[in-house]
Symmetry: C2
Subunit: 361 residues, 2 copies
């Protein structure tokens, strides 16, 4: 497999390392900074370095764009211009609607690995950075099934768990599970520091684990996070407004001093937490056998994306998938592997609901 | 050493276990629930069980009240009524102003260990629960130095780091570093769950570590937390109002779309985080030698409390302390151990500032 990585920092470098060592891929890298590119080569993150984006992309079967959010759209566009007709182009940006216009190209599948962050630079790149990490994919209505399959399989071999999601939901979700928690971590440290006055010898007397946990991501890289906050500003503002309403609600219950109202609110949080993290999860349970489903599908763009998005939305994790076209190429069979009986049953229901014949193999 | 523990759940039981095994103390326990008391005896958390609070306290040199916040004040008052003149009485409540009126009794020193929480019950009690944990102490203006020393030394032998703080500051601090983070954890899960609609098969598609960290304490025990929120409602409301203002500030920067304003805000959080957690900490650095300071003090109540509070406020950790009265009992010497040169120098300055002669031994 020939892979190109555009931007070889922590994420791009880790993709290169993992693709070389775990997937046996040949990785060609490009970076606008020649020093970074040289260090990536030295670190073994890439097999070869290209002197231009087009040179890196030429002949590649998979291209990853790991560029900063500010130049991401232009870089992905340049990659699509330079890439072969039979090449899948993806990215690793933290917001996905910014690339939504590229969905007209059947070769583009947006991506976002939930990994990395506390360090940066190819020096910190690790082959196992994506081990067990969710890797969101945002295939569009025209995405090619063959190219989606290739990307999905490569990500699985890197150790990641690919998970299809539509770009709009992805950004709303990230606002609530990542961007807003980062904002709150910042505000909590600003507040705690404010209590201690000014100057260098302010020191928090001592904190329990809950404060450390809540502020672990405070003051993350301004270069990265300013772009992320701005790219998702509308969703983040909506999240802030929701949170502000929630704070006013609990503030009222505290001011009223009514224990039952506070306990009821806390119980709701407990129930919601159990729903989000609880044992009732579909799929992903360790030790359950992978089961294979076979789905008959018409051979047109977007079919795989539709199935992957439907299963992703329902929380059914696709461990692996394989396409086999029929001899006349008019239709095909998709083989899907999922974890355990519950996931398989749910997946069958969902796929039947889409109108495709499905059987357990 | 004779120790009484009133309330033998997770915290009380762990105090009993640690006091027996690490301090060689004889521990007598009482609990209004006879089943709990029997289980504590069986678990080895106490040497003997008393049939009443007064029986447990009789003859004790140290009493810990580990009762729920709702009955805490009455229980501590009953313990003080039953205790000898030469007995120190402390508690483990999460807010400290509620017991402020007891500061008139020189035998009372409020306490709050930052430990435990995710489980409850004597079955989960552990001898090492307090290992390395901050244990806040709130001595009052009349607290006896001899009794404070006894409590400090016992807590150190349990593995904890006793840290003096005034009750008002403690509660304001807890609102910001513990109670508000708990409120936010609840609100974040309620918001994320709300995005997924209603019903049992809601499932968060997948989350990164920042959401898990930020919501680890969501939906903590309603029985415990309702009391804590209400006991500290005024400080918590102040914290909520501050946070709401902070959210409006960042919301405005996002709406304006000005990257420099967002980066500046993030840089402030980074600087504050470094100030709170950074390497500039006084004391507590591993590997630094304990140094001894000797302070001459008049023999009157409150002197030790004054020194401990001053050092605690400045973030200087007192590793151990010992009192030796002069022959005529009119004055005495306090030996204090602190970590490393920086702490020793700072402690000397602070103690001199209080008007007490101090030398490094």
């Amino acid at each position: 497999l020939r892979v190109a990585v555009l931007g070889v920092g922590l994420i791009g470098g880790s993709i290169g390392l993992a693709a070389r060592k775990r997937a046996g891929a040949h990785v060609c890298g490009f970076d606008p900074d020649p020093d970074v590119l040289a260090r990536a080569l030295e670190a073994g993150a890439i097999d070869s370095s290209a002197s231009s984006l087009a040179e890196a992309v030429a002949g590649a079967e998979v291209v990853f764009v790991a560029a900063p959010v500010g130049v991401l759209l232009d870089t992905v566009r340049a990659a699509l211009d330079a890439a072969d007709a039979n090449c899948v182009v993806s990215d690793v940006g933290s917001t996905k609607r910014t690339l939504a216009e590229l969905a007209v190209d059947e070769r583009f599948v947006g991506g976002h690995p939930l990994a990395g962050a506390e360090t940066s630079g190819v020096e910190h790149a690790r082959e196992d950075l994506f081990e067990g990490a969710t890797w969101y994919l945002t295939p569009g209505a025209r995405s090619s099934g063959v190219l989606y399959e290739r990307l999905h399989r490569l990500l699985s071999s890197l150790g990641a768990c690919p998970n299809a999601i539509d770009a709009e939901t992805h950004d709303r979700l990230m606002a609530r599970i990542s961007h807003l928690p980062h904002v709150l971590a910042n505000l909590l440290v600003i507040q705690a520091a404010g209590m201690l006055g000014e100057g260098d010898d302010r020191r928090l007397p001592a904190v329990g684990p809950s404060f450390r946990d809540a502020t672990r991501v405070a003051g993350a890289s301004s270069a990265i996070w300013t772009d992320i906050y701005l790219a998702n500003a509308d969703s983040l503002i909506a999240g802030i407004d929701e949170l502000t309403a929630g704070l006013q609600d609990i503030r009222g219950r505290l001011a009223d001093g009514q224990a039952p109202a506070i306990a009821a609110w806390n119980e709701r949080a407990r129930a919601d937490r159990d729903a989000l993290f609880g044992s009732g999860l579909i799929g992903g349970a360790d030790g359950e056998t992978p089961l294979e489903l076979r789905v008959s599908v018409p051979n047109r763009p977007g079919v795989i994306a539709e199935i992957a998005l439907t299963l992703g939305e329902a929380g059914v994790n696709i461990l692996d998938l394989a396409l086999s076209p029929s001899p006349d190429n008019s239709q095909g069979v998709v083989a899907l592997w999922v974890h355990g009986d519950a996931s398989a049953t749910r997946a069958q229901e969902l796929i039947s609901g889409l109108g495709f014949p499905v059987v357990q193999a």
